[in-house]
Subunit: 303 residues, 2 copies
């Protein structure tokens, strides 16, 4: 039984008779191949990538597994359509908080048409793409059983400023996220962004690869950050994840590093590490203010 993904935060949704991706119960994600060649390009990327022995194993885990393509009834009722069959990376999370971050200070590439470049450039300048080297393309934030998810609409997301992005990266790892941006406590920052298996370490691992790899240039590609806030607050060992998705505009690197992706990734890393160091500082302050005789641990708790 195919259904509309419950946790899709960006891109076209398979609702109201529109074409969009579907998921099944076995953890697979079916993405319709876009007709203008983009779908075939993405399929070609996955085929090339999965057999490319130059890609190290510790990097491969940041990409969804691809199971080829399959003819399926399209969600818009237009009949049979080729779909890319991918790992449904959200299915292993119960109440996932997800952020879709489109990386790079430009989403266009030199080989594209002038029209396409102008269209992208216009959007890149309107959003934080040019200024930050990345933009948030969508997100959902699990706020608890009562409140459910905070999922800002497309228009709101597209109007995010640098200030908003900074707030959201804090709010994303706060226990009091529903209260509002100003008072975010960032109490989950040490366990989500920090730690040896945290988001920051994963971003740094990816960065090291991008400083070296000259195989692919990832234009208009997104980095998903996802985690279960509930399992974190219960102290369970759920590991926050990052995954790269959307490869319709990947081109050959031809011996040059993907400096556009790398620059944006470094900018995101700086933002994430600032939230993390702020949260550590404030927890040290809390310890001091509470006059506890203990010390602050690495994960920001008082001992």
């Amino acid at each position: 039984m195919l259904k509309v993904p419950e946790h899709q935060v960006a891109g076209h949704l398979a609702i109201d008779g529109k074409l969009g991706p579907l998921v099944d119960d076995s953890g697979r994600f079916y993405k319709p191949l876009q007709g203008d060649g983009r779908g075939n390009k993405e399929l070609a990327f996955y085929e090339s990538f999965s057999s490319d022995t130059r890609v190290p194993d510790h990097i491969r885990k940041y990409f969804p597994v691809c199971y080829g393509s399959q003819l399926l009834e399209a969600s818009n009722g237009s009949g049979l359509l080729h779909h890319l069959v991918l790992q449904d990376i959200v299915s292993s999370h119960r109440n996932p908080s997800i952020m879709d971050v489109k990386i790079g200070s430009r989403t266009w590439y030199p080989e594209a048409s002038d029209n396409y470049i102008q269209k992208c450039l216009e959007k890149d300048r309107r959003t934080t793409t040019v200024s930050l080297g990345f933009r948030i393309a969508g997100l959902q934030l699990y706020e608890g059983k009562e409140s459910g998810y905070w999922r800002p609409g497309r228009k709101e997301v597209q109007s995010f400023t640098v200030y908003n992005v900074r707030s959201i990266l804090r709010r994303f790892v706060s226990s009091n996220s529903s209260i509002g941006n100003e008072n975010s406590d960032c109490s989950f920052a040490p366990s989500i962004y920090g730690g040896s298996a945290g988001i920051l370490e994963q971003l740094l691992e990816l960065k090291a690869w991008f400083e070296d790899q000259t195989i692919y240039h990832f234009h208009s590609c997104s980095l998903l950050i996802l985690f279960d806030k509930e399992s974190v607050s219960k102290g369970s060992a759920s590991v926050p994840e990052i995954k790269l998705i959307d490869f319709a505009h990947v081109v050959e690197g031809k011996g040059v590093i993907d400096h556009n992706f790398l620059g944006g990734l470094c900018s995101l890393i700086k933002f994430v590490s600032e939230v993390l160091s702020d949260s550590k500082e404030s927890s040290i302050k809390d310890c001091v203010e509470s006059e506890k005789p203990g010390i602050c641990t690495d994960n920001g708790n008082c001992q």
Copy 2:
């Protein structure tokens, strides 16, 4: 006595009645303040930078010293004009090989006018700026007493392809540079690009700062690489240098890293380190082929 700089490889030259920079014999470089506000912007940058305590000392050495401004007779005969008084970074070198590399995959900035952005974008796409994240804006290569300098003309420089850039970065550190691009031996790579005081280490030091600093965004700024080939071939202790120049388009970082500069810098680093590792490999091969019983030293020589 002011005179036209002998080793200027890019920008407007003070010849044929044109406005350009001048130098004196005491190691100072006089750059006319451009009338459209750019000159004052550059002066303002130097004033802000020189008093900014957030800039660490080990980074300050990558910038020319600024001695303020001074009214001088302009080189185009138009009368008295304010000039920026800077350290003449070339004066300490005897027969300098110099490369002027404009860093960044865009030379424009969001605050600029649409016209300016379109003009820059067009040039960025035409050169290697977009594809490589940097472009060579000028160079001179000392080839020896007889041949003197190889200094390609402005049009040739502007038409450099990715292939040309790779060749030039090899030729720049070759003892047989006058023979042609294909046979560059890269014999100076270990002593110019490599080593603890070499170009690569300096670029990496600069990179570490750019991963963190959110004070300035350096648009359309150049990185000069300069060294004396003669003193290197004689084994003297002349240290290759890098310096950042041209700050008419620096804007405030406002808490965001300069991902545009950083990405381009990482791309240049990758190119330089490839020349270096190629040169080490080929010298190992030479040692093996010559059947010398020795080993290859770090600077690529057989022992």
